[in-house]
């Protein structure tokens, strides 16, 4: 089956800054496609080109059969977006915003009333429906933004960091609603900085960095792909000199060592059960008391770190 979204050397420059750099992606119909990358990687810029809000500098994208540079009006009939920053006039009310959105998306007045009410209730905004958005918290505004797409149910739904600023109960509710939207036949593009969110929701994820695609595959495959099937996190009493990190790397079966914090190392390795005693021995020998040791499976965090070369902390600081 032909992919429902296909980008072909999609590029966007802002002056001399290349925000999106010859991106080639294919998104299959019916999947939840996670779109990851550190701040400023170019996620939002890519999505805005898909929904034809901004024009590519070079290359193009196909939304269904439509080329976004040639037939943007037609492309927009297939695609909808909940923006990263809620796009709302502060004087309007959730009811007005959502009712108008439903109307402009072509819903009949009966269907509109039903869906708007449903979304407001599900997202806990029903009692606030006639209050002006001016007095809303960031999380409440974000809920109004996400409600748009849940009401619209477009063939392709873009959600840009759908649960940023949302409390944990709300997060789970929104995740379930995103899954339900997919089950009803929508393809979902989920841009996020939360790797856990991408992991639990996505069928496939793409990681981009500085506008370029680094990898794209199922989360499970990506986790398996990074060298070393196991991860050990060691917290030490004091800072670890880089010389020690190098010596650790020389130990047999250790694939990579990453200083997550000055006193915390992440060790990627094979057959952890056998290597673990040698690691503790090593730290004793170099007089580095160990505070704690934890073994884990690789997570998307590790995949992210592996491919971007940034630690999660660095990525978030940028």
């Amino acid at each position: 089956m032909a992919p429902i979204i296909r980008t072909v050397n999609l590029t966007k420059k802002f002056g001399s800054l290349v925000a999106v750099d010859h991106l080639n992606l294919e998104i299959e119909e019916g999947e939840i496609f996670g779109f990851l990358g550190p701040n400023g990687a170019g996620k939002t810029t890519t999505l805005l080109m898909l929904i034809t809000v901004i024009k590519p500098t070079e290359g193009t994208a196909y939304v269904g059969p439509y080329d976004v540079t040639r037939e943007p009006d037609k492309a927009r009939t297939l695609i909808g977006m909940a923006f990263q920053e809620p796009k709302l006039l502060w004087v309007s009310t959730p009811w007005d915003v959502l009712d108008w959105h439903a109307k402009v998306c072509g819903l009949s007045s009966e269907e509109r009333r039903k869906r708007v009410r449903w979304a407001l209730e599900e997202l806990g905004l029903w009692n606030e429906r006639h209050k002006s958005i001016h007095g809303f918290s960031g999380g409440m505004r974000k809920r109004v933004e996400i409600a748009k797409i849940l009401i619209q149910r477009p063939k392709i739904a873009i959600v840009d960091e759908p649960t940023a600023q949302i409390d944990i109960v709300g997060k789970h509710r929104i995740w379930n609603m995103i899954r339900a939207l997919r089950d009803e036949g929508s393809t979902i593009i989920l841009a996020t900085n939360e790797l856990y969110e991408a992991d639990v929701l996505s069928d496939r994820v793409a990681i981009i960095h500085k506008g370029k695609l680094l990898v794209c595959d199922a989360p499970k495959k990506l986790k398996d792909s990074i060298l070393g099937g196991d991860v050990i996190e060691v917290v030490l009493e004091k800072e670890v000199p880089s010389k020690i990190v190098e010596e650790l790397k020389a130990i047999n079966r250790i694939v990579d060592v990453l200083a997550v914090k000055p006193n915390c190392l992440k060790i990627y390795l094979n057959q952890a059960e056998e290597v673990l005693p040698r690691i503790t021995e090593f730290f004793m020998k170099v007089h580095m008391p160990v505070k704690s040791i934890q073994m884990s499976e690789p997570s998307l965090d590790d995949v992210f770190v592996h491919y971007t070369g940034l630690t999660i902390e660095e990525a978030q600081k940028r």
């Binding site: 920053e85 796009k87 108008w100």
Partner: protein, 261 residues
């Protein structure tokens, strides 16, 4: 293909938005009444009979009709400010993302921005007609239809300006200048007979002159016309078409790609 339903959905949104400016709406109405009851009446008393003749016999009537047109202009231009308010909150991007065409969007906004000003000014227009008197209902109907188009043209003009400037401060200043010139270089407030030639030359091509002329013609103040009413109607239609068209083109070219301040 343009869907009228979509155009209307956009227009209706702008009309609703207008209702939020309660203070502005009240202030404008007070301004209108003050201009008529104070300025209009006093100036009328100051004028010699020969001046009164140049404006169709009664400057007060001439002035009331002109004030209606300036009010129509200044409320129709308001849509440009809405665009900046929306740019501040990213709503422009949202509007570009919904499943309607750019043409429907711009057309809807011109119509919404125009219609809301027409509806708002209507009671004042009727009050003006009550003061002036109605002589030819058919002419009045033609005048109304033309003014209707005039407001869309002004809204389209405002949208075009807002989209080409992209900065609310500059827009504010520029609109102030345009406002000062376009009103003063027209026949809204005084007859062309008393303008120096080079002012008159400009005033003859001013859409506000056309609008004022056509309203006066509709109200039966015929001797105040500087051109035939049909020239004025044509001028308004051209003005409307040009700015709706420009608005659409610029919307496609300038809005995408960001850069709003």
């Amino acid at each position: 293909m343009i869907s009228l339903r979509n155009v209307w959905i956009v227009a209706e949104r702008d009309m609703r938005t207008f209702l939020r400016y309660k203070v502005l709406l009240i202030m404008r109405a007070i301004w209108f009444l003050a201009q008529i009851a104070l300025f209009g009446l006093v100036v009328n008393k100051m004028l010699r009979p020969d001046v009164q003749d140049a404006v169709g016999g009664n400057y007060f009537h001439f002035y009331v009709a002109g004030i209606v047109i300036t009010l129509l202009y200044s409320t129709a231009v308001f849509i440009g400010y809405d665009i900046f308010e929306e740019a501040d909150h990213g709503v422009i991007e949202y509007l570009l993302s919904v499943p309607i065409s750019r043409k429907e969007l711009v057309l809807g906004r011109s119509i919404g921005g125009g219609l809301r000003s027409f509806i708002y000014v209507s009671p004042m227009m009727l009050f003006a007609l009550y003061l002036i008197g109605i002589s030819n209902p058919l002419q009045l109907l033609v005048a109304f239809a033309s003014l209707f188009l005039f407001t869309f043209g002004v809204a389209g003009f405002s949208i075009t300006l807002a989209v080409s400037i992209k900065s609310s401060d500059k827009f504010d200043i520029l609109l102030g200048v345009v406002d000062a010139l376009i009103v003063r270089l027209s026949t809204t407030l005084y007859p062309i007979a008393y303008m120096p030639d080079y002012y008159a030359a400009l005033a003859k091509f001013n859409p506000l002159t056309f609008a004022a002329d056509i309203f006066r013609w509709g109200a039966g103040i015929e001797s105040a016309l500087i051109t035939s009413p049909w020239t004025a109607v044509l001028g308004i239609v051209l003005f409307f078409s040009m700015f709706t068209f420009l608005g659409i083109i610029l919307h496609e070219k300038r809005i995408e790609g960001g850069g709003w301040q």
